[in-house]
Amino acid sequence: MTIAFAATLLILIVGWAGSALGLQYLLGVILPLVAGAVFIIGFIWKIICWAKSPVPFAIPTVAGQQRSLDWIKPNRLECPWTTPAVVGRMILEVFAFRSLFRNTRAELTTIDGAPRVTYFSNKWLWVFALLFHYSMLVIIIRHARFFLDPVPCCIAVIEFVDGVFQMGAPRFYLTDAFILAGLGFLLLRRVCSVRLRYISLPADWFALFLLIAIAGSGICMRYVSKVDINLAKDVIMGMATFSPVDPSGLGAMFFIHVTLVSALLIYFPFSKLMHMGGVFMSPTRNMKCNTREERHVNPWNKPAHFHTYAEYEDDYREAMIEAGLPVDKMPEAKTEA
């Protein structure tokens, strides 16, 4: 936790100090472009690495009754045996985090004086994960207003809905609060639960701190330490059209935000955040569960050499009869003689 916090702080200080020391061009133009390239190439590289791992067998998972006999009710979504059902399972997984919805919590309790382990449904993680991910999506889509010229009207619609309460100027966005609520829960859950804190690694903390710092610096740039967004758009459009514009007129908060985002983009393909691409490649989610219907043969098995019992008996029949062992096939010639 300390390491992750220090690392996030270091990136923040690099952004702030860089803008104070006149490295605006490096931090505001070169770094984001390099980070974007690392993100895209790293992402593809990681996906190809994963796609090289063979997954020959369908993997039926717990909670899904596979289709077998007519009188056993199969579970179409948990154990799909048709492609549309697999697609349905994937859609629910990607858009509604269905496996997280089934999250249970185990606790040691006492029932009638006897210690018992009880499992019960725990939806908080699901709710806040959903809150965080959808806020993040809306925020990324909203940022398209800096990357596109002219700005498509669908972006304006999202902005209108997001700022529907018309509080303050610049208008307060709901997703700004939601993303902090979501991230705050995900962080507090690791801090407050002893078991979770024990299994949390620096990588778990770093992703959370980095995202909180990004959301925080963005919110700060919008509501507190404002920058001239018209100049910011010129700088970003310069990047998007590969004709860079000097960003030195922008405030320090812009460079802090951009440095943190660049760090996220560089870190992304090599971290657990790759679940963004990985969710589509989960073998327990994206394969048909038809192991009773079809025989799945490992495609790279070497042709095996079998020595059947009949052949074994052919080899040792005489010896077996001599030893008084039962044989399937009595040698006919011998019985006649």
Binding site: G36, F39, I40, F43, I44, I47, I48, A51, K52, S53, P54, V55, A144, R145, F146, F147, L148, D149, P150, V151, I155, A156, E159, F160, Q166, G168, A169, P170, K226, V227, D228, I229, N230, L231, K233, D234, M237, G238, A240, T241, F242, G249, G251, G277, F280, M281
Partner: protein, 137 residues
């Protein structure tokens, strides 16, 4: 590589989405920085001809919305109609009588940046949109 027929289209969709700003901008023409029409002649406030804005230009570019919302609250809720700027000059807290006295053309001033950055302030839900150019009232 396994499952090429799913993995390769997936990668193409990913790259397409995340590089959208780069390839859409090559089709939509060059981005021009917004050209604002700035006031040409000085305007008289409190018996004094003034050429500079209420607050420094850089500060206004980033923070004008905050100033305007403060002015609205001060004028309408606290009936405080005088604003003292950081340089000590007095201004009337009024969008139409102060701001728009110099920046007379909404389309050539406000809208330039707001449209470019997809900002839709609700000033004009109450205020009348001025149509003319400088000193054309």
């Amino acid at each position: 590589m396994y499952n090429k027929k799913f993995v390769i289209p997936g990668i193409i969709v990913f790259v397409g989405l995340f590089t959208a700003p780069f390839w859409t901008n090559t089709f939509s023409g060059k981005h021009e920085p917004a050209k604002l029409e700035l006031p040409k002649a000085p305007v008289t406030f409190f018996g004094e001809e003034r050429t500079a804005c209420v607050e420094p230009r850089e500060w206004m570019a980033a923070n004008h919305m905050e100033l305007l919302i403060d002015w609205r609250d001060e004028a309408l809720r606290n009936t405080k109609r005088i604003y003292v700027a950081s340089d000590g000059k007095k201004w009337e807290t009024s969008l139409q009588n102060t701001c728009m006295a110099c920046h007379t053309n909404k389309a050539e001033f406000c809208d330039k940046c707001h449209d470019a950055n997809s900002v839709s302030p609700y000033c004009w839900d109450c205020h009348v949109i001025p149509q003319g150019n400088n000193n054309e009232f």
